[in-house]
């Protein structure tokens, strides 16, 4: 016979590891976070996406108990960070936006210090720190002072610093800020690899869409303290672009030896009208000799056939999936409309 609280615990553990309910934070008149509801499932990589000053960092600070919410509740690993911050911080690793290390200590010493603060003995801490430094590729630099580390190295050391306590959740606040593109790629891959290896839930905040798109299972779009939408990128895109989820770009070559402009324009008009007749195409427009067709279904083949049947040269045909960029801008447009 399992008692009720135990069942409840099981349910919440399997369900969500971070649970925010009606979370609000006000600074005087300014509302940084406005009635935020969010739940993050165990083991997933969640991207918190929003422009600077959207309240991402404030939300993260409240999850760690580093600042208290004005109202609402936070539950992280079944603990309330406002009343038991130490318990939460034992299970959650946090990499702040600009991670700082003691510049006059070596990378190894910095890591060992963190490990000791987590209650490890010096021996275990050193062993573990060395293993982690090897893992993140700083094995050769472990005895170099962190003051001499490059930005990317510091960030990687930050990741090791987060992982050394064997966390259940890691929260990364703008982790790729200021790293070069190749470094970003490598760093994100490292995060994913490590989190999959150790089954860690990852919460990543960023204003950079592509990175989030690359690695996150689900994203939440966060603007001005409010969560506008959550879901995986496909769902978000189909929700937003419900009427026209597909966009096809058609590149045309010079049509049939027609040299004068008027005849060329007529040819293009002919092509446009023939594409419009295809079932599923909602609109067609032309810019600089490229045609854009918005479609409700995947009708790329039919479009190609239609173009060729008019006798035009088809030089390229691109189906565009909506990325976070479009989602992002669509939301910002929507947001500005409200004002």
């Amino acid at each position: 016979m399992v008692s009720v609280p135990e069942i409840w615990k099981e349910v919440t553990v399997d369900g969500s590891i971070i649970e925010l309910k009606g979370l609000t934070k006000r600074y005087g008149q300014f509302t940084a976070v406005d009635h935020l509801d969010l739940s993050i499932r165990k083991g997933e990589v969640f991207g918190l996406l929003g422009p600077n000053g959207a309240g991402k960092s404030t939300t993260i600070l409240m999850m760690l108990g580093l600042t208290e919410p004005t109202s609402g509740s936070v539950t992280v690993c079944d603990l309330n960070p406002a009343t038991d911050p130490v318990g939460v911080k034992r299970k959650v690793g946090y990499l702040p936006e600009e991670v700082g290390f003691y510049d006059d200590l070596t990378g190894l010493e910095n890591l060992t210090y963190t490990a000791c603060l987590n209650g490890m003995s010096t021996g275990v801490a050193t062993e573990k720190a060395i293993a982690l430094l090897e893992r993140i590729g700083l094995g050769d630099e472990k005895n170099k002072k962190t003051g001499k580390y490059s930005r990317g190295m510091r960030q990687r050391l930050g990741l090791a610093d987060v992982l050394i306590k064997d966390p259940e959740v890691i929260i990364l606040d703008e982790p790729t800020l200021g790293i070069d593109p190749a470094g970003v790629r490598e760093f994100l891959d490292l995060i994913i690899e490590l989190s999959r290896e150790n089954k860690i839930t990852v919460l990543l905040s960023s204003h950079l869409l592509h990175q989030v798109q690359q690695i996150c299972d689900r994203v939440g779009i966060f603007v001005k303290g409010r969560l506008l939408a959550t879901g995986d990128i496909k769902t978000l895109a189909s929700e937003l672009f419900r009427h026209a989820p597909y966009s096809v770009e058609i590149g045309l070559g010079n049509t049939n030896e027609v040299t004068d402009d008027q005849a060329g324009q007529a040819g293009i008009d002919l092509i446009i009208s023939s594409i419009r007749q295809i079932d599923g195409v909602t609109s067609v427009s032309e810019t600089n000799g490229m045609l854009h067709a918005e479609c409700s279904r995947d009708v790329t083949g039919k479009i190609a056939a239609a173009v060729i049947s008019t006798g035009a040269q088809l030089t390229s045909l691109n189906m565009k999936m909506y990325g976070l960029d479009d989602i992002y801008y669509r939301y910002f447009e929507g947001d500005e409309d409200h004002e």
Partner: protein, 346 residues
Amino acid sequence: MIFITAILKEMKTMNDLVSALSKRWFGASDRKMHPFRVIVRKEMSDQIRSWRFIILITIIALTCFGSLYTALANMSHAVKPNDPEGSFFFLKLFTISDGTMPSFTVFISFLGPLLGISLGFDAINSEHNRGTLSRILSQPIHRDYIINAKFTAALATISCMLFALGLLVIGAGLFSIGIPPTPGEFMRMIFFILLSVLYVAFWLNLSILFSVLFRQPATSALSAIAVWVFFSVFYPLIVNLITKSLEPSASATPQQIIAFDHFRLGLMRLMPNQLFSEATTTLLMPSVRSLGPLTMEQMIGALPGPLPLGQSLLLVWPQVTGLIAGTLASFVISYTLFMRREIRPR
């Protein structure tokens, strides 16, 4: 040759012993340490390795030995026949000077604040500026560990340093004078060092308070130094101005004169350095019986003799309490400010 190898061998065994002991005491490999101890240990090692500590300790050691030198040179003039303090010969080491160089106590009262300020002025804000504060606070420790550990570490460093210096002075004195201190003298010196630690702790806490208040280490250092300069230079001037204007006339009653004197002393005692110098004088000069005015009535029948240690301590108790109160007040303010602050990364 045999002699050298013997010495080397001896050194090796000593080394082994020291490393074994340090392993045991500082729990090197397989013992878990409480996070608070971890922070204190790191802070202490940071301070001891820092340049400013090395510079300060050099300045303080140099001045101390300078004053010790003048004290020793003037020792022979200082001892007079029928001096009630004659039996407290050793204590003069700390108090006498020939006027060219201040005595040990004056040096401590002057350089102590500098020491305290320099160890505390960037305690919190430099952590914040380096971005380490939010990283450390996201570890499973209570927030007050940071500020408590900073205070404890600095205080421990200061105590070690002052005790080492004080005992060195005693040792050097012992060598050159050749007369060992009596137990009473020794206790007085220990109390004097404790008092100095307390005095430096006051300035340490004040500078920690400024380090919580101001984001820039330079600002907090400057404000702490400003307070120090104010108390050691301007405040006595201000008190002088006030008391000059209120000075009772020559025909005033004794009660008026006494009341005026109490008032003047009360104003002076708002200064931490005044409290410290009164307390040290009483401790190191056993013949001092009162720190305020004494009437003839009180003096009649008193034998000119030194006070026992207990009585001297009783006499300075208000001063010590004042220093402790000041220390606690600034600590409490910085503690509450720090606990309430929202810790944002840089």
